[in-house]
Structures are given as C-alpha cells and as structure tokens.
Amino acid sequence: MNYTTLARSIIRGDRKAAARLISVVEDEEEGYGEAMDMIFSASGRAGVLGITGAPGVGKSTLVFELAKGFRKEGKSVGIVAVDPTSPLTGGAILGDRIRMSELSSDPGVFIRSMGSRGGTGGLSLQASATVRILDALGCEEIIVETVGAGQTQVDIMGLADTVVVVTMPGSGDEVQSIKAGLLEIADIYVVNKMDLPGSMSTAADLRAMIDLVEDWKGWKPPVLLASASGARGLEEVAGSIRRHREWFSDPEAHMERRASQARKEIYDIIASGILRAISSAVTDEEMGELVRLVAERKMSPYDAARKVAGSALPGADLYKAL
C-alpha cells in the first residue's frame, strides 16, 4: 500500500483512509514518514483539547458533552480516546465509546479508540500522529482523553493546547495525587459529579493548593464544579476552555509550550524510528539467542544491546551511548 495515496485521500476528507493511516502508524509499519509529512502540511488548524484524570471520574462523559457543544456550534469534531493496554497480553478493552455512542453515526464526528500500547504517560506514542491525521481530515476541534491512570498522565501537555484535569469528590487522596503530578499540567480543573456529597470541599482543597503558587504567568487555572451526566456546569467549562484558548493564541504565551511539545515529538519519533530500524537489523532467532544468554546471566544486557545496535550502526561508538 502506498501511504502517500492514503494521505492525499485523507486531505480530501476520506474518513476510511484516515482510519487506515492511523492503524499503519499505530502498528509502526514501515515507510509512513512521507505520508505524515503531507499530513503535517495539511494540518495545524484544529484546536486540541486534552481531558485527563483518574479512572472513572467521568472523562468520557465530559468529552461527550463537550463534543455535543462543539457540534451545536456547527464544528466538526475528532475524538481520540486512550484506554490501558494490558502489559501481560498486549490486549485491551477500549470502552470509552460506550459513553459517546450517540455521536458514532454523526458524519461530523470521528472517534478513534487507542490502546496505550508502549506509552507510559497516559497516551499512546502514536496519539500525536493520530491528532494530526484527524486535523488534516478536517476536524475543527479535537478532544483527547487519556488513560485514567493516576499520576503520570503528563504526556497530554505535549499534545493539547488546553488541558482539563477532571476530578471528583471523595477521598483526599484525589487532591493528593493531583499535587504529586498533575498540578503543573492543568489549565482548568473540573470537579465532576457535583451531585455527590463533598464536591465543595474538594473544590476548596484544590483552590487552596493553587493559591500556594505565586506566579501563574498570566493564566491561573480556574476550579469549576460540574456534573457531566447531569448536564450541569458545562457552559462554564466550555467558557473557560474558550477563554484559555484566547489567552493561548497569543504567541508570547504559547511559544514555550509549543517548543516543549515540538521537542517531545521529535524525540518520540527518533526513539520509535531508531528502535524500529535497529530491531529490524537482527532476526527473531538472533534476538532470541541474546535474550536467552541474558536471561541465563551469561551476557550483560548492555553487551546485548550493543550487539544489536552494532549490527545496525556499524562503526558507531556504542560504548559512549550504551
């Protein structure tokens, strides 16, 4: 299959081609770089919104409500929903769509579920390519839902212009975990499930925590109460997203973030591309043999890594790098 043909079809609005190219990238099949260059040139118009937070707080329900709001404004919407891949079997059940099924036959909406596969920061490594593809397809608003996995969903910052951290009333642990990892990434906090007891005090805890930081560089994250399933407080959430976007559209404000996004994406592409290139330089049998030697403690894992890399990069000084 010629991937540049796929890219051209996507730019003309072919949804099936978009679905296919996303799989090609996810499976890390060889030779899609040129197609992604074309996709890149045709993208850059979509607003990208990230939704993150612990498991079960209501991310998918909120994504569904926000997407309906965008649809009412006449905008087309892309949704990328990431669920965890089992590290043991490599399999996954991708269930975020259950909350969005009303949108699945809307021609103005494209929803793609992804397993986190190798990614550890709450996203799949291929999530940014997927966002680009949906952008080139013509989606005006793209919403990315991360894996609900606790404290390490920082990857979303490398992808979204606006990050919403969702939480819900309950144990103080919730706020504790936000302190430990999500504080730096939130542009907006939503305390969802405001219909449950304790939402006011969760919001107060969050505000107290935010007040400890002195310099917010022009944007102090608001803490909003909402009920995604009860359709309460959603106007305010959408309004804050709009305001953040206006603020973020000032190049001064966003250059630093854009630069760190760019840096991360370049390194991700290098890492996965080099790993792919190097791994393909040894056969499965050769790799199996090295694995056996290391498992039997007859060879150091560093030595094995140098042997593999050495057959792909003859002449490189691998003792410095590995």
């Binding site: 679905a19 499976d27 490599g90 399999g91 996954a92 059940i93 769509r97 699945s104 793609r112």
Partner: protein, 132 residues
Amino acid sequence: MARKIRVLIAKPGLDGHDRGAKVVARALRDAGMEVIYTGLHQSPEQIVQTALQEDVDAIGLSSLSGSHDVLFPRVMELVRKNRMKVLVTAGGIIPEEDVPALRKCGIAAVFGPGTSIEEIVKFHKDRLGRRS
C-alpha cells in the same frame, strides 16, 4: 512491530443481554487483541460507522432477543456499501434454521450458547492471521 488485531464487539438493537458480549470481549483481549466494545442499543448504522472509524479487522455481533434476522443483514448491507474488508461473526440465541440465511448474507460464523471461548479465539486468530 507486530500488527495488532482489532475487533469490534457490538450489541445491535434493543436487546439488553450483554454477558455473552462481555465474555467474548474479555477473551479476545486476553488473547492479545484490541477490543472495542460499543455498549448496548446500537443501530446497524452506528455499528458500521464505528467499525469504519476504528479500522477493525472483525465485527462481532451479539444478539439474544431474536432480532438478528433483520439487524444482521442490515449490518452486512452497510459493510458492503462502504466496501469494507472485515470479518463478521455472530453469537447469542440464534435458531439453527436461521443460520444458513445469515451465512449467505456474509456472516462468517455463528456461535451459540455454550461455545467454548477457545473456539471463538481460535477462529479469529486463524481467520485474521497471526498478526497479534
């Protein structure tokens, strides 16, 4: 990287029996596949649009309420209309005498109550290649 098998497990129509669909979804996941589960009450249009966006290799239809004879052929019609290359299987309460018609409209296999999970997993692996 190994090509991963992606399967959509869908519940068409008003049928609320979802145990079988969930059992099959978990089994395929445990076999290393990515399984998209739609939840209940899906129209054939929603199922086929979902399959298209998710670029799945297979669609599994589960029905225990007796509406398979209308809904399954409609799914197959839309699969053809969208020129999708996808394996479609089915399961649930489907009388023996209905199976030939379903097979004829393109459903690859029908698995009734009591089918072993191993058989369902093996069927998908055999048909979709060792991609996972």
